[in-house]
Amino acid sequence: MKTLIKNGRVIDPANKIDSVCDVLIDSGVITEVGVNITANADETIDATGLLITPGLIDLHTHLRDPGQEYKEDIISGTRAAAAGGVTSLTCMPNTTPVNDCLAITKYIISRAKEEGSANVFPIASISKGMKGEILSEMGELKAGGCVGFSDDGVPVVSGELMRRAFEYADTFDMPILTHAEDLTLVAGGSMNDGPVATELGLKGIPWVAEDAATSREIMLAEFTGGRLHVCHVSTKGSVDLVRQGKARGVRVTCEATPHHFTLTDEAVRGYNTNAKMNPPLRSQEDVDAVRAGLADGTIDAIATDHAPHHYDEKNVEFAVAMNGIVGLESMLPLSLNLVEEGVITLNQAISLLTSQPAQIIGIDRGTLGVGAIADIALIDPALEWEFKAENLQSKSKNTPFSGWKMKGAAVKTILAGKTVYSR
């Protein structure tokens, strides 16, 4: 089966290509990229006016499967991914039970292969049961298909265990992904510490809770020589710490979420539980710093922290509402908005969404090179549409962006040559 995509603007940062041309896919693999390809294709797609990019890669999602399928499962989560132009994603291990063993990893991978609409690369836990006590069997988990380790959401408190985690993971050339947060400084807070929290009477989570932990993890990575990926940086300080770490030659990368570069803690007003997440929405100064980090390359990837929660878990008092929002279907337009606002270039945006995240977890995706697996997003950058929670593919509708006017969307998502989403 041959598919020919014609006349689109191909943006392939990994191969430094940005030009209008055609892409030929044969049996799920890209066989030719060039101008005026003539081939007997079974299917020809006219991509005039569209971007042809590698399928997007999201380094941070929660698919809730196994154990919390009422929020999301592998089928609905990957369907949401496809609708957002995402063809590859990682899923965090805080499932029930925790993904700390080969059986769970295998379940996730096989279920995704059989029924999913995107490639799923599991992240396994750093510690067994995410309890922060005993290291997971990292070697075996890697062999089973995991691409990194994280106790996302429940940061490892013990410095000693974290040190050993870096060393042990590096033994297998695997990165540690950290949710950097000093829980003793969080001390029961439920939103960013600052004037808005003071006015709303909500206990604040100070920026220093994130910065102190980020600092420790960078130093441990520096000390051990291990590889660190800092998840969802949200503060000015964290961005600075990563920037300084990189300058010193520490093996550190980091990601930022669309909500952290789009919204401030003002969004919490009215006790909007869909603006409650961890790390919390921060101040304008922090948002500006995250944007600057994206622009200057300090931040390596845009990732969603897609965290589906059931309506009942959000329809409660703010302080007891669950943390997190869904993000797979809003990541692309919110990222393109940074281009629209002149924060980053279109090529930067695509590489933050494709080739760079692929490199962090070491997967052979995120490129349109000849011979690469044909994971492709066709993006209409000019399409204006209204983002509506009720239209989401995800099982959960917890988003603060419902009703937003968006610009830019994936109109076709192709996974290994097969169309998995069409708008």
Binding site: G194, P195, E199, G201, L202, G204, Y271, N315, E317
Partner: protein, 311 residues
């Protein structure tokens, strides 16, 4: 003017004119409380549910008396705040109560925003009797009423609020209220008890009590919770009292005719020395008395008046 609020959720969204309208209305109701027959038929046939998810004696009693003096039927419900534990959400609890058709729910809850939450989901009127560390509008209004009673116009007065600001809903409502009425608001307390951004709310922040009360017209002392002692915020009540307690000595720094307010219940010997607590400058019992009139005014304004049609 006329003022027909559907709910009273906080001071933040009230205008100075609306606040003054409430205070004027309260002024008229105050007379009833000194009559032999302390009852008017204004809210006859109305049902008011005092839904308290958090223990409170004085606020609940004050609202109950206010409702009864207006001839409303008042019902007190003490509910458990830990909805998650029960498996029943706050919305479920409230909907159960609304099914009995109350006209007004007076609500106290430990979560900030709980009243806003219910106001969005129920048809009856909600009067906030304190939500978490967010707002306590009736307390701020009775404080303003008491200040007005003793000082005339609030405009231009210097009001110092001292104590555990971080954990006080009274402070937040008072800052909004006093600012709208044109007072200069000073805030003081140990830095562990001062949340960030108070200046943005329109206050001058002091870390020294003496500086904060020098030249003040009104001093509002906040209750220090015993359970805060020996934790991370203050080492001991003894030390707190020494540096942040009001006594005869430092009270002299305020204006000669300064008044001392306290939302109660007071801790004698902690935030207030006994001599100040019993002194002639304190107006704490006036506050309690005025509380009934202010709450009558709130219930009257919420119950009466043609409301805009709900969606």
């Amino acid at each position: 003017m006329s003022f027909n609020p559907k709910h009273i959720l906080g001071i933040k969204n009230l205008t100075a004119d609306e606040i003054n309208f409430i205070l004027d209305t309260a002024d008229s109701f105050k007379e009833i409380n000194t009559r032999q027959i302390k009852k008017v038929p204004t809210l006859r046939g109305k049902t008011i549910v005092n839904l308290f998810f958090e223990a409170s004696t004085r606020t609940r009693t004050s609202f109950e008396i206010a409702g009864k003096r207006l001839s409303a039927d008042t019902v007190n419900i003490s509910a458990s705040s830990s909805s998650v534990v029960k498996g029943e959400t706050l919305e479920d609890t409230a909907q159960n109560i609304e099914a009995m058709h109350p006209d007004i729910i007076v609500m106290r809850h430990s979560a900030s925003g709980a009243c806003d939450y219910l106001a969005e989901r129920l048809n009856c009127s909600i009067v906030n009797a304190g939500d978490g560390t967010h707002e306590h509008p009736s307390q701020a209004l009775l404080d303003a009423f008491t200040i007005r009673q003793h000082k005339g116009d609030i405009k231009g007065l210097t009001v110092t609020i001292a104590g555990d600001v971080a954990h006080s809903r009274v402070v937040r409502s008072n800052i909004h209220c006093l600012n709208k009425l044109g007072a200069n608001v000073r805030i003081t307390g140990p830095k562990t008890m001062l949340p960030p951004g108070l200046e943005k709310l329109g206050c001058e922040v002091f870390s020294n009590l003496n500086d904060a009360i020098t030249g003040a017209d009104c001093i509002m002392m906040l209750r220090i919770q015993h359970e805060r002692q020996g934790k991370t915020l203050i080492p001991s009540l003894r030390e707190y009292s020494r540096f942040f307690g009001l006594n005869d000595e430092n009270l002299k720094l305020a204006k000669k005719d300064a008044i001392v307010l306290h939302p109660g219940p007071i801790n004698r010997g902690v935030e207030l020395s006994s001599s100040v607590a019993d002194g002639k400058q304190n107006v704490i019992l006036d506050q309690v008395e005025n509380g009934v009139a202010v709450r009558m005014a709130l219930l009257y304004l919420v119950a009466g008046g043609e409301k805009l049609q709900d969606e």
